[in-house]
């Protein structure tokens, strides 16, 4: 695997005057939207994520790819401090997590919440304004306008007063995306944003994400559908508990790295079959 070298080469180009590997590393940590070093997370005795180094670039969409149980969601959650890390370091725009939380938006898995919860679409989007509104601030004026604009951007403006339980899976996912947009962040972390959504929603979400990228934001998404990785994403991070590969799609998404991530049972020509059969474990 050459990807560690690749990223160091990239960092060396950016680091003033070249410098040693350690200095390059430090420069990378200081500027990347999201960088982790030696990240280890464990549920019980078995590590879910083991000693992972990763650097997620700005102005790019990165797919986190790997088989079921490979620690993809866990990696995101550990970056956000939702699950505790056993070891390792997380840097967001060069800062510790707590200092940079306001620059991150998060879209959890749609299936992780109870959509029968008594609330409306607009109310869910308002949760993304919590940081500005605080415990008691009112959602009027500027904040209200922002919430409604975000619903517009995902094509859900007409559903503002709708009960969330009445939405289709695709509509629920759009609402979650609108909530993340309301956070007006610089780094967007999405956990399987395309899982169980209709084709029109998938298209709409990709369009919104590409627009974010064009605005210079960093987008990182856990992604299951290997067939669309090259269409949607610029960069890829392959993981199976440990880091397998990292880089642009052209560099890091190939038969060799997929075989390493999915257990050596695949050739590149089998990628389509893999997609049809669902990810191997």
């Amino acid at each position: 695997m050459t990807n560690g070298d690749t990223s160091n080469v990239l960092a060396a180009r950016i680091a003033p005057g070249g410098g040693t590997v350690q200095e390059d590393n430090a420069a990378e940590l200081a500027r990347a939207p999201l960088a982790v070093r030696g990240l280890t997370v464990s549920y019980g005795e078995k590590p879910a994520v083991f000693s992972v180094d990763a650097t997620f670039a700005d102005k790019a969409m990165t797919a986190i790819v790997g088989p079921n149980g490979a620690g993809k969601s866990t990696l995101l959650k550990a970056c956000l401090g939702i699950v505790p890390r056993v070891a390792g370091e997380v840097r967001v725009f060069g800062q510790p997590l707590e200092a940079a939380r306001h620059r991150i938006a998060y879209v959890p898995q749609r299936a992780s919440v109870d959509w029968d919860f008594p609330t409306t679409v607009l109310d869910v989007v308002r949760m993304g304004l919590y940081r500005e509104a605080g415990l008691f601030g009112r959602f009027t004026g500027r904040l209200d306008t922002r919430a409604r604009k975000c619903l517009e951007r995902v094509g859900m403006a007409d559903f503002a007063t709708r009960q969330i339980g009445q939405l289709s899976g695709g509509q629920q996912q759009r609402v979650f995306l609108a909530r993340a947009l309301a956070q007006e962040a610089d780094l967007y972390l999405l956990d399987e944003p395309f899982a169980g959504v209709d084709a029109a929603t998938e298209r709409a979400i990709v369009d919104v994400l590409k627009l974010l990228k064009a605005e210079g934001k960093a987008v990182v998404a856990v992604h299951h559908d290997l067939a669309t990785v090259a269409d949607y994403f610029d960069r890829v991070f392959l993981i199976n508990v440990r880091r397998i590969a990292e880089g642009t799609v052209a560099e890091a998404f190939n038969a060799e790295t997929l075989a390493a991530a999915y257990g050596g049972r695949l050739a590149a020509t089998h990628v389509d079959e893999l997609v049809l059969a669902g990810p191997l474990t």
């Binding site: 956000l80 008594p118 609330t119 949760m127 919590y130 909530r179």
Partner: protein, 307 residues
């Protein structure tokens, strides 16, 4: 509605109402988190704590009993975690095992010890003594302004009112934390909201309500009020804010109607004695839930067909 009412019915009804509301408020969130059993568990496990506190101090006094109950609640939480981790069983099963065992232990200790001299027995633990919490010194509505008469109010009343007030205040202050963390714990944590601590604090608040209410009204009301008013309220509306308001209304209605029916219902039916107020309050709350199931405007799971 004169002096008799103030003397014999006003304080029990108020205590019942405060107890019902104090339990129904956290119940709303416990139900949405699918943790309704926790309220049940807590109200069971406080029994051994209260009995042990009595055996240690030898008196039925509030503070030691509350401490004993709180100790038992903490012990139960620890035991539930242990059973869950070591036994590898699901949380519901762990709770079921721990709270029935502790409750049974409480009953056994109670039976084996000499509590005949005081008003502490299994019946009291289950049904409380709401009917006996009367205001003897009251001579009518004007007694509400009489400092001397007010001093003889049953201590359960201010204690329950204060608990109810505290729970309400906490819920209002941390409303957004509770709402976001209950709907989407992961997202809440990503915002920096201490979601796990919010969940823990909710259980503590429920325990506080249960312990305070237990002493006055017994565990039957506590169990019923954690579940019935919030569950019925959920069927009335699709907004969390309105659900909580409905639950307070249902809790109040259950307490008032239950108390009146227990006192006068049997007489109206030609019977001689009143029935247990706690039992009747719980029954009324159950009937309200039943009616909400049959006629509530939002009784169908709205998302059932759409997803």
């Amino acid at each position: 509605m004169g002096a008799d009412f103030v003397q014999f019915s006003l304080t029990p009804i108020l205590i019942g109402v405060f107890a019902a509301i104090a339990c129904a408020l956290p119940g709303n969130f416990l139900i949405l988190r699918r943790q309704a059993l926790i309220g049940d568990a807590i109200s069971h496990v406080v029994l051994p704590g209260i009995v042990v506190a009595f055996l240690v101090t030898g008196a039925v006094s509030a503070m030691p009993m509350l401490l004993g109950a709180a100790g038992a609640a903490v012990l139960a939480v620890v035991l539930i975690e242990l059973v869950k981790r070591i036994g590898g069983v699901e949380p519901g099963a762990a709770m079921g095992v721990v709270f029935t065992t502790l409750f049974a232990a409480g009953v056994l200790i109670l039976e084996q010890s000499d509590t005949s001299s005081v008003h502490l027995d299994v019946e009291h633990a289950l049904m409380g003594n709401l009917e006996s919490l009367i205001w003897l010194r009251a001579e009518g509505w004007h007694s509400l302004l009489d400092v001397e008469a007010l001093a003889s109010l049953p201590p359960e009343l201010p204690r329950m009112a204060l608990t109810c007030l505290l729970i309400t205040a906490l819920m209002l202050v941390f409303w957004r934390w509770l709402k976001i963390a209950t709907f989407d714990e992961g997202f809440a944590a990503s915002l920096g909201i201490p979601a796990a601590a919010v969940g823990f604090a909710l259980v503590i608040a429920a325990a506080l309500s249960a312990v305070a209410a237990f002493d006055a009204v017994g565990s039957i009301i506590v169990i019923a009020m954690f579940v019935c008013p919030p569950a019925a309220a959920r069927l009335m509306t699709q907004s969390l804010e309105r659900q909580v308001i409905w639950s307070v209304a249902f809790a109040t209605l259950s307490a008032v109607l239950g108390y009146v029916l227990a006192g006068y219902g049997p007489l109206w039916l030609g019977g001689a004695d009143a029935v247990s107020a706690a039992g009747m309050i719980a029954v009324v709350s159950g009937v309200i839930l039943g009616l909400a199931c049959l006629f509530g405007p939002h009784r169908a799971r709205v998302g059932a067909g759409a997803a």
